[in-house]
């Protein structure tokens, strides 16, 4: 019965299915490539690779960093989200903006700043932070905004009558929070955890600078130091097991949760909690991440940039426009790819549509270098005229950063009532027409948010840009790379600063699209 119905729906769904499948294929190609390279290993090498004791250490390190960052970001984001939505503090809007801006700081910049600011001669009175604690701090400080944004939205959308009902039944304020409010924050926590987790698993800039060996660092080493594509492919496949596990966990939890909100329409505004004597402490708590994750990196970059030799200034504009010309179309394309995938997963949930959606996320933790090599290999085989052109770079960046767009688009789709679309369908619209006439106008904010996140990812991306950009196409990120490679930090700083400023502009777009500020 259901399968017959599905078959009947098929022609109408083609406008979603075709792009969704093409996108899935684009993300799956690098997987195929990794498998191809991994299989080149001869049995003896393979045994060595699989049974290395070092693998256990990598598993342990990766897991403890992942769990540590999830815990730490919760400890940062949860109180901050509460303080900026449910209290009588002044300047909540301003703080919400400032607390989101660390999204614009690339991990390698954060790591560099922590290294130069701590230890002897540093401006922070701390022992030199590196290894586990350094990586934990930097990754938490640059990823907590994902969680913060989700939790803020959840707090704002919460129906206070539930909590009040609990209080009238004689439950204390703390217990009411943990028993009634906290479970309602769970969907926001979960989707935040997924994004933060993907960032932690995929990051190598931070961990390599801070000397903490995770899988992504080991992969980076094998590609860069040892000229070894086979071992690197195996490590990448191990890493994808982690990502796959994370995606499976999130999917299982998410399905068990009831997402329906009760009484949303008639819900009244939550009362602000009066902080009284705690107010100074609350401000301190709000200021600390702003200082560490925003002011400190900007100060360090400006300080370095002040020693920038003037004659290099001309390259800045060129790099800026190159970055924008690659990252802006890529972010549009990423959202365009995310829309049909999210639509199918939300409106027509089935193992197949869910798989396609998870695949989109998986693409994000395929190491970017493997992603780039796969596309060199496949594009030269099948689309040689595209090789070394800007469109190919844009396409591959979009495939890689599709995951950044998926979350917000999916979230927005959940909030669009299905009934509206169905009404349009009963009036004779095809699914595609109904989508564009009814649903899309309601979810474009989610699309803008997803696009902004994809842009922030694409503008600081390195290996894909290096290998797939047209010849001599220098972007901000490739300039930062080539100067830091020669230890010319003052020369690199203005380019890094522009990455931060450009990303900050898109964080502004993101905040505007959420319109809760």
């Amino acid at each position: 019965m259901t399968s017959a119905r599905r078959l009947y729906q098929l022609p109408g769904l083609l406008p979603f299915l075709v792009p969704a499948l093409l996108t899935g294929g684009g993300v799956a190609l690098p997987l195929l490539y990794l498998a191809l390279r991994a299989l080149e290993a001869d049995p003896e090498t393979l045994r060595d690779i699989l049974l290395r004791p070092k693998n256990l250490e990598l598993v342990k390190n990766t897991l403890s960093l992942l769990l540590g960052v999830l815990l730490f970001t919760t400890l940062i984001a949860l109180p901050l989200a509460f303080l900026t939505t449910r209290t009588d503090l002044k300047g909540k809007r301003l703080f919400s903006i400032l607390l989101t801006l660390p999204l614009a700081i690339p991990g390698y910049v954060g790591a560099y700043v922590i290294l130069s600011a701590t230890g002897p001669g540093g401006i922070l009175p701390l022992p030199r932070l590196e290894g586990y604690w350094g990586a934990l701090l930097v990754l938490s400080l640059i990823t907590y905004p994902y969680l913060f944004l989700g939790l803020r939205a959840a707090f704002l959308g919460l129906d206070p009558s539930l909590e009040e009902a609990a209080r009238t039944l004689g439950v204390g304020p703390l217990r009411a929070f943990f028993q009634v409010v906290f479970p309602q924050l769970f969907p926001a926590l979960l989707s935040g955890y997924l994004v933060v987790g993907l960032h932690v698993l995929g990051d190598f800039g931070t961990v390599s600078l801070l000397r903490y060996e995770t899988f992504s660092y080991a992969i980076y080493l094998q590609y860069s130091a040892a000229f070894d594509r086979v071992y690197a492919a195996w490590l990448a496949l191990f890493l994808l097991l982690f990502t796959g596990g994370l995606l499976l966990l999130e999917g299982t939890f998410l399905r068990r949760l009831s997402l329906a909100r009760t009484g949303k329409g008639s819900g009244k505004k939550a009362r602000s909690v009066r902080l009284g004597g705690f107010t100074p402490w609350a401000y301190l708590l709000l200021l600390l991440p702003v200082l560490l994750a925003l002011v400190l990196p900007l100060y360090a970059l400006f300080h370095l940039a002040s020693r920038f030799p003037r004659e290099h200034l001309t390259g800045l504009w060129e790099a800026l426009s190159h970055s924008a010309m690659a990252a802006i179309p890529a972010s549009f394309l990423a959202v365009g790819m995310a829309l049909p995938i999210a639509y199918l997963a939300v409106r027509y949930p089935s193992p197949a549509s869910r798989f396609l959606e998870r695949l989109g996320y998986l693409g994000y933790t395929i190491p970017p270098l493997a992603f780039a090599l796969a596309w060199i290999f496949f594009s030269l085989k099948s689309l040689p005229f595209l090789y070394g052109t800007l469109p190919l770079l844009i396409l591959v960046l979009a495939f890689h950063f599709l995951a950044e767009g998926l979350g917000p688009v999916r979230g927005a789709l959940y909030q669009v009532p299905r009934r509206l679309e169905e009404a349009a369908r009963t009036l004779g619209d095809t699914p595609a027409r109904a989508f564009f006439r009814v649903t899309f106008p309601l979810l474009w904010r989610g699309a803008v948010a997803g696009g902004a996140l994809a842009f922030i990812g694409a503008v600081k991306e390195l290996p894909i840009t290096l290998l797939l950009a047209p010849m001599g196409y220098a972007t901000l990120a490739t300039r930062v790379f080539s100067y830091t490679q020669e230890a010319m930090f003052a020369e690199a700083a203005p380019f890094a600063l522009l990455i931060v400023l450009l990303s900050a502009a898109f964080v502004g777009v993101l905040l505007w699209s959420e319109r809760r500020f």
Binding site: R128, A225, A372, F377, M471, F481, A487
Partner: protein, 331 residues
């Protein structure tokens, strides 16, 4: 009439395109843009040959070349390490070079003739001169662990096991002293609880900041720190010691190249007095042709050449070194 003019235009454009293609050289560079760009500009101005450059690390470029296969648009591969060039040669990516070119450098020409050495760098020991005296430093890198133990430097030694030049040095040690002694040395180094850094500037910055006291590195990094006004010590071991291993940069022409003439001219330019002077002056590397005036921070070329052990750099047992490093859990 209109049509004829149109066809003529198309024909001219096609001719122009063909001409441009012939005169465009595609360079894949594992060396940094900030270092390559000025030289490429000079070359373009003097020869009129347009040069397109793809930048990356040696490993990224090598991987890209292998994935591109016979369709690669690259003419020249200019690398930071002999390891990458040796790999490219053994994978059959490079075309043998002519003798006029290979006769120019005073040393390090590979037996395969697949690439030509361009400049020389040396491994050295960088140290904190406020803490250590030059005369007390060991004469061989093999004695470094014992020296550090005696001076109580446990936890205060840095190294860069993931960096290609360090791995080259370990391969050099295997070639000179055998795998057994190299293994002992690595274990003794590990017993010092050394701090591993992802890059040399990071390690030298840690010496400057007083976090560690010494570490084996490449000479030009120390030169750059000194030029920037930081007081870092530079120590060379006795002549012929693996701790002074020469690190040769070089370039080769790819088999896929369709612009052999331009590619040859580019390699010739790298070895010309002008090109070599650029490396010796601005970059702080040792030139490999005679008659170039070296920077004040550098040794005379003869002395520099005497420092390094004489090895066939293409035959450095790099795979063996990597296996050893992995086996000991260092990589």
């Amino acid at each position: 009439m209109q049509l004829r003019r149109f066809i003529t235009l198309i024909g001219l454009a096609a001719l122009g395109l063909a001409f441009a293609q012939q005169q465009t050289l595609t360079l894949y560079s594992g060396r940094g843009q900030s270092l390559v760009e000025p030289l490429v500009k000079q070359f373009q101005a003097e020869t009129g040959i347009r040069v397109q450059v793809r930048y990356g690390t040696d490993a990224q470029i090598l991987a890209a070349l292998q994935e591109e296969g016979s369709r690669s648009p690259a003419d020249v591969f200019w690398a930071n390490t002999t390891g990458a060039l040796g790999q490219a040669a053994s994978k059959g990516l490079l075309r043998p070079l002519g003798d006029t070119l290979l006769r120019q450098p005073v040393a390090f020409v590979p037996a395969s003739k697949a690439w030509v050495p361009v400049t020389l760098r040396l491994r050295v020991l960088a140290y904190n001169p406020q803490k250590l005296k030059p005369e007390e430093l060991p004469a061989s890198i093999l004695d470094l662990p014992r020296f550090a133990q005696e001076r109580g430097l446990v936890g205060r030694v840095g190294w860069t096991p993931t960096y290609s030049s360090f791995q080259d040095m370990v391969a050099g040690m295997i070639a000179l002293y055998g795998e057994g002694r190299t293994r002992e040395w690595l274990s003794a180094m590990k017993a010092l609880n050394p701090k591993g850094y992802a890059s040399n500037p990071a390690m030298l910055d840690a010496i400057r900041a007083g976090e560690i006291d010494l570490g084996s590195t490449n000479h030009y990094y120390v030169v750059r720190f000194r030029r920037a006004g930081y007081n870092l010590g530079l120590h060379s071991f006795k002549d012929g010691d693996a701790g002074n291993l020469a690190l040769v940069t070089g370039a080769g022409i790819l088999k896929t190249s369709k612009n052999l003439v331009a590619a040859n001219r580019f390699l010739t330019y790298l070895l010309s007095p002008k090109g070599q002077q650029y490396f010796a002056g601005t970059v702080g590397e040792y030139p490999l042709v005679k008659g170039v005036v070296a920077d004040a921070h550098l040794l005379p070329l003869e002395e520099a050449l005497a420092k390094s052990p004489k090895l066939d750099f293409e035959k450095l047992p790099l795979d063996q070194a990597l296996r050893l490093l992995r086996e000991l859990g260092i990589l």
